[in-house]
Subunit: 406 residues, 2 copies
């Protein structure tokens, strides 16, 4: 597999075009790009993974319904930032349908072949006259095959500080397959309800069922590891479109190709998720929290989340202070029956606690590790075999001034 950081992402696979335009969703006349389209002339099969929040935005329920039908095919994605079209009632549903039908009209396809996404403020109706004007411009650009991949990347951002894309290529007996992706997350200064939208494209062909299985596995090993506090926004969505633009159809009877393709999708999702975790206001570190030896995997995840969500733990990382005390305290309030005097704790491979006893001789080593930009915390509870991993970051200066030392 060849992997490419950044770049055009979703338009790397053959036959995909993208665009991004300013249609002033927020009514601020700031010129920011805020609506985009991804288009494939060839029809695509599709799969999606969506928020499990009880409250789902209108476009989310719309896409879930479309993707339920195994016969659905798709020609385009339309996405706007600045307004989530969430908690907008019947009007919101009508507006989503209108977005789809406007895109379809310009692209001369069926409106059920368009997937719709929104992100931004909740509870405010979409400014539909401006949105439809934007759709006219954005579809025009993709029909003219403009090079709009970066404009699309920009159009979906909200509080993100940078665009986030990547792609991967694999060789198969039938030729090359490319997987591309783009994501918007949000500064980790707002861990709750930061909407995450990710779009993946490929020039392989695949049944919707196979795409769904592959996407689900990739999401479980990437975006779901970075979820903070189990919260999901009303709009979180990850979709994968496959247009068979390279002529190769994935087939379970060729498991080697499917496995390679899975690895490519995994790599793209992992890189995009990592970019989301690292794109926060003044985030300086990327941290993997690994728990092992828990009573169950579920218990391990609880402990990992308590650590990863502790403002005090994250603040201490920012201050390059290993502070295992705060970390163990956070682990303790997962209340899964942790026994302090049998805990082993490692910063990367360096033991900090063995059976609850600090290994003081290693202190300068832990401190150096926590000074780095990336490290792994491993906590072994030594109870049973349960394990989990969570990806997280440190906290911005604004949070930390007060907390970084005692």
């Amino acid at each position: 597999m060849k992997f490419f950081e950044n770049g055009d992402g979703v338009t790397e696979p053959r036959g995909f075009f993208a665009s991004g335009v300013h249609c002033d969703v927020k009514g601020k006349k700031d010129g920011a790009l805020d609506l985009g389209v991804i288009y494939s002339k060839k029809p695509c099969t599709g799969a999606g993974v969506f928020t499990t929040n009880d409250v789902k935005a209108a476009p989310v329920t719309y896409c879930i319904d479309l993707l339920k039908n195994p016969k659905s095919t798709f020609h385009a994605v339309v996405a706007n930032s600045g307004n989530a079209n969430a908690c907008t009632g019947a009007q919101g549903d009508a507006d989503t349908k209108k977005m789809a039908s406007e895109v379809a009209r310009h692209l001369k396809v069926h409106s059920k072949e368009i997937l719709v996404f929104s992100t931004g403020r909740i509870g405010v109706p979409l400014p539909m006259s401006r949105i439809t004007a934007g759709i006219r411009d954005a579809t025009d650009d993709v029909l003219q095959e403009f090079d709009g991949a970066h404009a699309f990347q920009e159009a979906i951002l909200t509080s993100d500080t940078c665009t986030k894309s990547c792609s991967a290529k694999i060789e198969t007996p039938g030729g090359e397959i490319t997987v591309g992706g783009v994501v918007k997350g949000a500064g980790m200064i707002e861990p709750n309800m930061a909407t995450m939208l990710a779009f993946l494209t490929t020039d392989a062909g695949a049944s919707p069922e196979l795409l769904k299985t592959i996407l689900k596995q990739a999401v479980d090993q990437s975006f779901n590891l970075m979820t903070i506090d189990g919260d999901m926004s009303t709009n979180d969505s990850v979709v994968l479109l496959a247009n068979k633009g390279g002529g190769i159809k994935l087939d379970l009877e060729e498991p080697t190709v499917v496995r390679k393709f899975q690895e490519a999708v995994n790599a793209v999702c992992a890189a995009l998720a990592r970019k989301c975790v690292s794109d926060g206001e003044k985030v300086t570190k990327f941290v993997k929290v690994r728990i092992q030896g828990a009573p169950s995997d579920e218990d391990a995840e609880k402990v990992a989340r308590c650590i990863a969500n502790s403002l005090l733990v994250k603040s201490s990382w920012y201050g390059s202070d290993p502070n295992w005390g705060r970390l163990v305290d956070a682990a303790g309030y997962a209340k899964i029956g942790l026994i302090f005097d049998q805990l082993d704790l490692f910063y990367d491979d360096v033991p900090a606690l063995i059976n609850g006893e600090p290994i003081i001789g290693n202190k300068s080593q832990w401190q150096n590790i926590v000074k780095g930009k990336e490290f792994i915390i491993t906590l072994d509870l030594k109870i049973k075999k349960g394990k989990a991993e969570i990806w997280t970051n440190d906290l911005s200066e604004e949070y930390v001034n007060f907390n970084k030392s005692e």
Copy 2:
């Protein structure tokens, strides 16, 4: 009932004395008071409610053990700030016992008649030579009956910005009974693991069983409402000591007196908890989140906590922005089966949503309410009868600059 904000608190009931001294727990030589004693010459019965964190500090397990014995009586509490004596192994247990025995030696009582509390940094052994010097000074002060209530209040603070005390008096056929209290919380900028220590005293007499029942009820209606994210520190403790200094013993055969006493303890705990919620870095608002109509009380609490812990919701309150969208989104990720289009939402008594429809005509009213220093959010899920209440606050400027508008 007569209620008194602030004041001497724990020394208001007859026969209690308190002190606070500087013994340089942190080794910073900053002169800050960091060790205190509450003393009653008459023996007290006692009751306590403690952290449920898997990791309990040495003094917590020590106090739990002492209070388990229904025959235990107590003469004093000793508490230090600056060091939590948590995750300190066998040395920590020995140091706790040493603190008790040193206090007992100076007060000429048995070491099992001393309760011990610590708060501060985790994982560092106590500086016992300085602690024992502090104990000598602090016990000296209470034996000489110095007026040290305020010094004690100060000695237990960590990141708190002010001392927090109150008292209540009730009239009974046998005479007056006083309940006094003091608490330390922490800036809500650190919602995780902010240790809360509360000490209550009364000049009534009561069996340990009755005290425990009364304290448990009061804590459930106060400190447990303000707990953030289910987290508790390694050291959280609330204790109530009863010395019968006024000569009146509470008796279940006089239910009117017991009820009045319960109300006094409730009032003291509620006021102290409220002071904790309001004492954060630049906290400007005190908010009660009430959920009703949930499938169960447990579900209602989940929803209340999701709202109360949402950084985006709290940030919007700080910006005096009602932002019901963020609030409903937060409620949705409790995932208890909430149905958006049957939600009723109120700011104080003013409806903002009825059956999920915004009552736009009331908008200026909600905005005025959220501009106030104190308001109540009521969310009715209209599913079943489950309800819950959580007390919380807005978020400091540092968190908010980035989030308060979109």
